[in-house]
Symmetry: C2
Subunit: 120 residues, 2 copies
């Protein structure tokens, strides 16, 4: 991934200096780009997408999610942990059961935009 000057490559032949400046100016810091990729990685699993979609309509407990989507309780629990870590879902406890719900409207808009892209 890291590179130095030990390999022959073309120069910035096709890129004007001012364009280069604009591209570089737009480019966020490496860490921010990394975090962004980490966020999308969370959306990049069908189990998690299913869970998020199920939560569109109503808060749900772990067990209901598992039955609804035909998944094991353990798998759901693991994935909810990931979704929680990215602040995409929040939860509240009520006795033995834990209810999860969407934490953020960005979830809807991101998924919505993704769906739009697919249906083109």
């Amino acid at each position: 991934m890291q590179r130095d000057e030990d390999v022959e490559r073309c120069g910035f032949l096709h890129l004007h200096k001012d364009t280069l400046a604009r591209v570089m100016a737009q480019l966020p810091a490496d860490e921010e780009l990394y975090d962004l990729a980490e966020l999308f990685k969370v959306f990049g699993d069908s189990t998690r997408i299913k869970i998020l979609y199920a939560l569109f309509e109503s808060e749900l407990c772990v067990c209901d999610i598992a039955q609804l989507l035909n998944l094991t309780q353990t798998a759901v629990s693991h994935q909810l942990r990931v979704l929680k870590g990215s602040k995409l879902v929040k939860f509240r406890r009520e006795g033995k059961t834990v209810f999860y719900s969407l934490d953020d409207d960005h979830v809807r808009s991101i998924i919505g935009q993704g769906m739009e892209h697919l249906n083109e």
Copy 2:
């Protein structure tokens, strides 16, 4: 991932029938959800995110992208292939060089929404 009735679980204790109906009605087909996850998987890699971001300002050739982002030409080429496969970038050939550009405004909005979510 697949389950049957051989394991003890809670019933739909917390979910009213009409809510269940709404949740199920909202839920897209499995294949669609799978495709959506595949799409986000593409966004879920920092190299690809960098490439997409670089293309926000201007079309770029493979070699310029590689130098700009300090990546090998091969790695960039492989990732452009993936981006092309998801219709996120398009390209045009000009002599020896190939210029890539964003294929879709959804790229901007999806990345934008992701960034917004991070900065909360």
